[in-house]
């Protein structure tokens, strides 16, 4: 039985499906071979005895991976059983997770092939990271059964042998995901630490700076404002076609950093610590005899260094508001806040900190989760303290999901109506910060109307406040600019206008064509139908535009390109929208030291969407 999480091997492939880095862990592989051997002994020698204890070479893996890509339609694959799915492929299993936990067939020379599963697939910048964790032979057999079953599929809640039970049974898969993500951060170079805001400077750096800032090795490129929330929605405004399509032209692979990271974090294939900044700091700094261990307590593995210097503690509540505003009677608006409390504790020794939180009103807070070092308070009470032992550097102390305590910071509607095929009339009517009082401040507010599939020729119209700028595929309305924030009062903003597009051009996606071409041709009979009896320009246009919509990835919430919407981005300071807050005065530290506590709040917009009231929009049903 494999213990814990063991990684048999990992590969990094570039966008041309060539292996640029690979690492095999013979110690874990030995466990696999021993398991295969004993299994064979039990079964009296099965067929796979030759193939199973064998890891593919880089080129074998690369070609198998490319083959899978061909079979599954894209790097990740369909994820759900569709008509193109073949028996034995991942999408045959009919589960979205097969886009992340994939299988490939390795072809041996004798024409035999064997299944390699589970391969964790993580894509970061232009690289694909594949991690192969150690599982039991039985697990592999179960999966084989799943993807080769000849019947129609598995029912939900099946007793055993389902993919869900397998995943529940395999912490090594979860561990492998953590490994893949850690490696992804290293090869993409965005080892961003959570942002903590201080009043003096816009942000302070991470762990490395706290130790080495003075000796000037903090040359590492570091994003100034790290994206706190999930970065996926940010690329929606310009209509990202698919995240499978990888960005071209990125930094080369830093193999040395990778090697260093792997040999420290998982020397034998068993991950021990995936905190990259700790590992790199140790590699750079090492330890001197001046670094004395604490006298009476054990220094945790996640805190290899102890802070020395002026003591202070900083908290930042960072909230991201997602909203879908419909302005329709039949669809209720939905607003949700996902927030986190970031912390940076520059405290000597290994103290415990108690942080009283206000506003943990249980009916507004939907989920709470904490840093591993925190002692979790009882769930549900309105006011309670979180006790934690802070690691070095910036860290996320707590995450939460909440509903919006105040009303939506931006209300109103967006109407766009196509008066002809290439011209649309639109109207915005917004009210900002309605019902918001000081100290709530809206620092800036920008609204974007993306038209990813149409080229804008001209925009006509003057907003009641702010300025307009246009790019080829979007219109941007700067309602409030930085420096001229809105403090404790509300304003109305309207923007009527028209937008002219270049004539519509049918877009052909090679992806679509190769896979769905046959279906498109079927339509040719209907295509020639004269459309003179067309009643509604919009409907006609809608039909025309939806016809060649490419499928989105399963990681997107819906096909953004299919809708007309406006996306608002803003930043609010002064208070949280969820109502969560911290009282800096009642933060206590054990053993007691005097350290100033700073606290700030920042609210930004995530997917803050105004759907075109006159068009289609994605929605959901509320539980009754």
């Amino acid at each position: 039985m494999p213990t814990g999480c063991g990684i048999r091997a990992l590969w990094i492939l570039n966008s041309h499906d060539a292996v640029v880095f690979s690492r095999r862990f013979p110690v874990v592989e030995k466990q696999w071979r021993v398991a295969c051997k004993s299994e064979n002994k039990c079964n009296g020698g099965s067929v796979d005895s030759v193939a199973l204890p064998y890891l593919p070479s880089d080129s074998e893996l690369a070609s198998s991976f490319a083959e899978r890509k061909k079979r599954e339609g894209s790097v990740r694959g369909f994820g759900i059983r569709v008509s193109q799915s073949a028996e034995g492929s991942d999408s045959w299993v009919d589960d979205p997770v097969t886009r992340h936990v994939i299988s490939i067939y390795i072809n041996k020379e004798e024409g035999q092939n064997y299944l390699l599963w589970p391969l964790i697939l993580h894509m970061k910048s232009q690289f694909c990271i594949l991690v192969l964790p150690l599982v039991e032979l039985g697990h592999l057999d179960s999966y084989k059964e799943l993807c080769k079953r000849s019947d129609c599929g598995s029912a939900v809640g099946g007793v055993d042998g389902s993919l869900s039970s397998l995943l529940l049974d395999l912490p090594s898969v979860t561990g492998a995901f953590m490994v893949a993500h850690a490696i992804g951060e290293i090869i993409s170079g965005d080892m961003a630490e959570p942002e903590v805001i201080v009043n003096a400077s816009p942000s302070v750096g991470g762990l490395l700076d706290s130790l080495t800032g003075s000796i000037g090795i903090s040359s590492r490129a570091k994003p100034v404002a790290a994206p706190v929330a999930s970065s996926t929605p940010s690329n929606t405004s310009v209509g990202a076609v698919s995240s499978d399509a990888m960005k071209i032209g990125s930094r080369p692979l830093d193999k040395d950093a990778l090697r260093t990271f792997i040999s420290s974090s998982m020397p034998f294939g068993t991950p021990l610590d995936l905190n990259a900044s700790n590992i790199f700091t140790i590699k750079l700094n090492g330890f001197s005899s001046a670094d004395l261990p604490p006298a009476d307590v054990k220094q945790p593995a996640w805190k290899p260094y102890l802070y020395k210097g002026k003591q202070k503690i900083l908290f930042t509540i960072h909230e991201t508001v997602a909203a879908a505003l419909y302005d329709r009677d039949e669809i209720p608006d939905s607003i949700s806040v996902s927030g986190q409390v970031n912390c940076r504790a520059e405290l000597e020794g290994l103290p415990d900190v108690s942080l009283p939180l206000i506003g943990l009103n249980s009916n507004r807070i939907e989920s709470l989760s904490f840093h591993p070092s925190a002692q979790v308070p009882e769930q549900g009470a309105d006011k309670q303290s979180v006790m934690f032992s802070p690691p070095l550097g910036n860290f996320v102390l707590m995450r939460y999901q909440a509903s919006c305590g105040l009303g939506p910071p931006i209300k109103g509607f967006y109407q766009l109506s196509m008066v002809s095929e290439d011209e649309g009339a639109f109207l915005f009517k917004l009210s900002l910060m309605e019902g918001y009082k000081a100290p709530l401040t809206m620092e800036f507010c920008t609204l974007t109307m993306p038209f990813p599939r149409r080229r804008i020729v001209a925009v006509d119209g003057t907003p009641s406040v702010g300025t307009i700028s246009t790019t080829e595929h979007s219109v941007e309305w700067k309602i409030l600019v930085s420096g001229r924030g809105l403090v404790g009062k509300s304003i109305e903003a309207t923007f009527p206008g028209t937008v002219k597009f270049a004539p519509w051009q049918t877009q052909r996606f090679p992806y679509t064509k190769s896979f769905f071409g046959s279906m498109a041709e079927e339509d040719s009979d209907a295509d020639t139908e004269p459309t003179n009896n067309m009643v509604n320009v919009e409907e006609y246009l809608m039909e025309k535009m939806t016809k060649d919509l490419p499928p989105v990835d399963l990681e997107e919430p819906f096909c953004w390109q299919a809708y007309n919407y406006a996306k608002v981005s803003f930043r609010i300071a002064g208070a949280s929208l969820s109502g969560i807050s911290i009282d800096p005065k009642s933060v206590s530290i054990y053993p007691s030291v005097k350290a100033p506590v700073e606290f700030s709040i920042q609210v930004t917009a995530g997917d803050y969407i105004l759907w075109n009231t006159l068009g289609r929009c994605p929605s959901i049903a509320m539980p009754r």
Partner: protein
């Protein structure tokens, strides 16, 4: 390659790099151990860059299998010792290099050393362990703390590979573990835990407090070296103390370290029978960590110690749901959390009720949110499906259930989140998710492994199925682009052994509800994928589909214009494709009527030549390949020929099957002993028959069974039907006129026309006067014995042959009815009939049945036991069928006997009549008249005939008939003599002309055929034949040739031609069947023409029975 190099020549950095690359890409695996030797010395060289040394070490580690033999291990340990013991030096012995060296060496040892049979191996391992222990044994030492941590890790891997390797020194390890306070303490903890775990699992008797064995020098313990190990009792007390110590320090671990730690201690806890609640208290709060690994660890604990977590299932489930809400995390962890939840629920399968309640209670938290990635939505919808499953099963147990939460609501609510699939292109991800959800909801808990006939039944009337059936019909109606997706959805079920009935069910739904609603126009092509599936499915009667297709073809023909050529062609070809599918999968008799009409119409009127051609080929296949052969051809062997149409059988398709009489009990089975039999048995046992009713394509008007044109006739009525009093509708004429070329009539043709007019004017229009009758001779008899028993007569006396002992029936009335179009059949009365005496043996039955035998014997008694009965039919169509016979009679003792007898089957040969001779023809010119009539009809029934649109008034002057001819051929591979014999025996009255000297001679000699036209010369047949040969396409020639050159074969064929027999058969009420038999020595080619194409199917069987039987 590099294996051949002498070790003295060291490799440069570049050479090493390319060597490593070759290895990784699998280009060279035949390296020798000298590479390893070389690499080890390279590591020790001071001139090579550090990064290269690192890669060299990793390379050695990864390819240890191929590179290392046990003999190199000692050298490796020495190299390690020299690196580790050299003072810190940034250019050479960095901590990083030391660590890498330790790790690689350990890994190589683990890979290479299989056992300790070789003493050298044991020694090397011992010295490696000793070296590592020396490093480890400096707790709290500052600068090398990371290196010490690594050394611990190396020792742990060695211990894991050889369990209990370090068991003897576990006491030292514990004290090291206790004293270490730097961040390396995690590694010390893990090492100690690993040893404890191995002690527990291997049950090795050591005292973990004992430090009497020195740490160094290290010796391999006996239990590692020895082949067997004795299990001994564990020192529980000490081990519990160690556990207590270990559980004291969970906060030192990183999440990954924690994972490792928990995996190590769980078996220990189990073995030591620790209270699981202790672990729970210590670790349960990890589930609230945002680190997925820690969450998963709690789930691991849960699955190992189910009982300890009793009552906390809800908490765990809620937490997992809330992980799926966390927008901050990477989406994949949200997906994983939902999977864990699903797995968690299925893990509770032993507590079904609890799980059910929990799932239902949590239903509202499974609702997707707008910005959930589609993958998350899909999984949440899966959870909703699980919820609906629980609801459904709960409903069957407890009827009272809150209305707000119903299966239907869950389904509909959930679907809103992907409802865009309806208008998006069919390849959209939303569509995929939506159909995935349909599947999950529908299939419910129908596991494939179970025997689930009961569950199937439950599913059959589940609300979801009903809902989905409706939805699918609606969707196909409204969003035609979804058709391919729906088809593949149905395919998914059809391809599954267990659930193909579900697919069939959905197809049936579509057949029943979609087909009547679709609008027949060019857009119908969108549904063809579904049609094809319906056509394939035997469980679905093809009637509806054929109707729709017929309408489509009519539509295509009508709307054909200059700019629709291509479209007509493409759709026509597709329609024929579906027809072909039907022919391949269905029993031909189910299809025959409608399909042949569709094909006939297509090949007559379709604007596109290719479509017409194909339709003709299909039609010919359908008509000419006899049922049995067709079935063999299509390999539908298991299907019985008399398969009744399922469900509400279509009204036009009448298979006569015996019905049970509703008379009193006694009368019920009178057919067992009262027999009505044909005097002349049928050649072909007709098992099926067609009754041509209204030939209209558009409306299936069941009333107009007489084939008379309605006041609004459809285009094709005019072709085969009889024109009614009113004029032919302009609509149908339009179609005809568009297509009919102008023709010129010559003298010959006008003469033929005259013949035809004369002939038709002698045919009565059956609608206004008595039609032509067909008589079928039968005989009635009944068996005395069973009759007496049933009706209470005294058993036959000792003289069974005495007439007065036999029972009799009086005033018998036979009523006939038929669903075939035979008009009203007059009843037949028999005043008296005596029962048959009991038979002695079976052979006597045979004798009795044989008329000839009876006549020869002159056995008067026999005749008196049977009454002859004549059934008079007035066929509205010449078609075989079944006549039901009802008997009503009185027995001698006053019983009234009513009941149904076995039906009489009417064959096509019963319909064979001689053509009516007009009264003004003198007897002497009758043969000539027939001969001329034959020629004229022959010409008229040519499919391309120039008579095509001519109409001929019938007798009575009110109706007119048009001739629409069809041609067919049949090759009979029998000798000429048997052809002539059979013809003489069965078809002699219908022969009108015999040509060809050799043939005429033979026929004249036998003298059966008289009063016909003889032509000795081989006449125009060759012209006709060449003409026909040129006209007939492939299938015909294929039938009689195996040779490469068709023309040659044909020439051979004509040269052996003996002559030709011309047969003219009149088929009531107004049709004709013309046979031209070209007789040659070994085979006879029968050319068939008729103006009633449906009869071709029977003729085919008939000819086979006649000549080939």
């Amino acid at each position: 390659m590099s294996g051949d190099r002498p070790p003295s020549k060291p490799l440069s950095a570049q050479e090493w790099e390319s060597l490593i690359e070759d290895f990784q890409h699998g280009r060279d695996t035949s390296a020798s151990s000298s590479v390893a030797d070389l690499a080890i010395s390279s590591v020790l060289r001071r001139d090579l860059p550090l990064p290269l040394k690192h890669s060299l070490l990793v390379f050695l580690e990864e390819s240890a299998d191929a590179l290392f033999g046990p003999h190199l291990l000692g050298r490796l340990v020495e190299a390690l010792r020299s690196v580790v013991q050299s003072p810190p030096d940034p250019a050479f012995a960095t901590y990083a290099l030391k660590e890498q060296m330790m790790v690689s060496t350990t890994a190589i040892f683990v890979t290479v050393v299989d056992g300790f049979e070789e003493e050298r191996c044991a020694r090397d391992v011992a010295s490696l362990v000793e070296l590592l222990l020396a490093i480890v044994n400096r707790p709290n030492h500052g600068p090398d703390r990371q290196t010490r941590a690594m050394a611990c890790e190396c020792l742990r891997q060695l211990e894991r590979n050889w369990p209990c390797l370090l068991a003897e020194i576990v006491g030292h390890l514990w004290s090291l573990c206790q004293s270490e306070r730097t961040h390396a303490s995690q590694s010390y903890h893990l090492l100690f835990t690993q040893v404890i775990r191995d002690i527990v699992t291997c049950k090795v008797d050591v005292s973990i407090l004992n430090t009497s064995v020195p740490l160094v020098p290290f010796n391999l313990p006996q239990w590692v070296l020895g082949p067997t190990r004795e299990a001994s009792a564990l020192n529980y007390k000490e081990l519990r103390r160690a556990m207590a110590f270990l559980l004291e320090w969970p906060q030192v671990f990183t999440p990954c370290g924690m994972m490792e730690f928990l995996h190590l201690i769980i078996p220990v806890a189990v073995a030591l029978e620790l209270q699981a609640s202790m672990l729970k208290v210590q670790f349960f709060s990890m589930i609230y960590s945002y680190d997925p690994v820690l969450c998963h660890m709690v789930l691991m604990l849960y699955s190992r110690f189910l009982d300890a977590f009793d009552g906390q299932e809800r908490q765990i489930a809620r937490r997992l749901v809330s992980v799926s809400w966390e927008a901050q995390g990477h989406p994949v962890f949200r997906i994983l959390a939902l999977h864990w939840l699903l797995g968690f629920f299925s893990g509770m399968s032993n507590r079904v009720v609890e799980r059910k309640n929990m799932v239902i209670d949590m239903a509202s938290s499974f609702y997707p949110t707008v910005f959930d990635p589609l993958a998350v939505k899909a999984l949440k919808l899966d959870l909703l499906a699980l919820c609906s499953l629980c609801l459904e099963s709960q409903k069957s147990e407890h009827v009272s259930q809150a209305d707000s939460l119903s299966v239907v609501n869950l389904f509909k609510d959930g679907l809103v989140s992907v409802s865009a699939f309806k208008w998006m292109p069919p390849w959209s991800t939303e569509t995929a998710v939506a159909f995935h959800t349909f599947y999950k909801f529908l299939i419910g808990s129908l596991a494939h492994s179970e025997d689930d006939s009961i569950k199937s039944k439950m599913l059959m009337d589940s609300t979801i199925l009903r809902l989905l059936q409706g939805m699918i019909v609606e969707m196909t109606m409204e969003f035609q682009q979804l058709v391919p997706t729906i088809v593949s959805f149905i395919n998914r079920f059809l391809g599954c052994n267990k659930h193909c009935w579900l697919g069939e069910r959905l197809l049936q739904t579509l057949d029943e509800h979609l087909l009547p609603k679709v609008s027949v126009d060019y857009k119908l092509v969108a549904y063809f994928a579904i049609f094809d599936k319906i056509a394939e499915n035997v469980a679905i009667p093809p009637r509806g589909l054929l109707e729709v297709l017929s309408n489509l073809v009519v539509f295509l023909v009508k709307n054909h214009g200059p700019d629709t050529g291509l479209r007509s062609w493409s759709q026509g070809i597709k329609v024929l494709g579906i027809c072909r599918t039907m022919m391949m999968h269905h029993h031909s008799s189910r299809l025959f009527l409608r399909l042949s009409r569709l094909l006939a119409f297509t090949c007559l009127y379709f604007p596109d030549l290719e479509v017409r051609d194909n339709a003709r080929i299909y039609l010919r296949m359908l008509v000419c390949v006899p049922g049995k052969k067709l079935r063999e051809l299509l390999k539908l062997g298991e299907m019985l020929p008399t398969m009744a149409p399922s469900g509400e059988s279509d009204t036009f398709f009448n298979v006569q099957i015996p019905r049970l009489s509703h008379d009193p009990r006694k009368s019920r089975n009178i057919s067992a002993y009262v027999h009505l039999e044909r005097v002349v048995p049928l050649l072909v046992k007709q098992s099926w028959s067609l009754a041509l009713a209204n030939l209209g394509f558009g409306n299936a008007n069941a009333d107009s069974v007489k084939g008379i044109i309605d006041s609004e006739p459809k285009s094709d009525d005019a072709v085969i039907g009889i024109a009614s009093d009113g004029p032919i509708s302009s609509e149908s004429l339009n179609v005809e006129r568009q297509l009919e070329p102008l023709r010129v009539m010559d003298a010959k043709i006008s003469e033929m026309l005259g013949n035809l007019r004369r002939h038709f004017s002698s045919i009565p229009d059956f609608r206004h006067m008595p039609g032509i009758k067909v008589k079928i001779l039968c005989s009635l008899r009944f068996e005395s014995d069973p009759f007496s028993r049933t009706w209470g007569f005294s058993p036959p006396s000792d003289n069974p042959n005495a007439a007065d002992a036999l029972p009799a029936i009086y005033a018998t009335v036979l009523r006939f009815s038929s669903s075939a179009p035979y008009g009203s059949i007059p009843l037949y009365r028999i005043p008296f009939l005596l029962g048959e005496p009991p038979k002695k043996s079976d052979s006597s039955v045979h004798k009795v049945n044989s008329d000839i035998h009876a006549i020869e014997n002159g056995a008067h008694e026999d005749d008196s036991f049977r009454a002859s009965v004549t059934i008079e039919l007035e066929p509205l169509e010449p078609t075989p069928g079944m006549v039901d016979v009802f008997l009503e009679t009185n027995s001698g003792n006053g019983h009234i006997i009513r009941g149904q007898l076995h039906g009489i089957s009417v064959g096509i040969e019963d319909m064979f009549l001689k053509a009516i001779i007009p009264s003004d023809i003198p007897d002497t010119s009758v043969p000539l008249y027939y001969s001329d009539l034959f020629t004229s009809l022959w010409e008229a029934c040519d499919g391309t005939s120039s008579f095509g649109r001519e109409t001929f008034p019938l007798k009575g002057g009110k109706g007119v008939a048009a001739i629409s001819g069809t041609r067919s051929v049949k090759l009979l591979e029998v000798s000429a003599s048997s052809v002539i014999q059979s013809t003489e025996r069965y078809l002699a009255p219908f022969v009108v002309k015999v040509t060809g000297e050799p043939l005429s001679d033979i026929v004249k000699d036998s003298g059966v055929m008289k009063d016909i036209i003889w032509k000795d010369s081989v006449p125009d047949i060759s012209d006709d034949a060449t003409l026909a040969g040129a006209n007939f396409e492939g299938p015909l020639q294929l039938k009689y040739t195996d040779a490469e050159d068709d023309m040659e074969t044909y020439a051979n064929y004509t040269s052996r031609n003996m002559g030709c027999i011309h047969i003219l058969i009149f088929l009531p009420p107004r049709y004709h069947l013309l046979l031209q038999m070209e007789v040659s020595d070994a085979s006879t080619l029968v050319r068939i023409r008729t103006d009633h194409w449906p009869c071709l199917a029977y003729i085919d069987d008939y000819l086979e029975a006649l000549y080939l039987a």
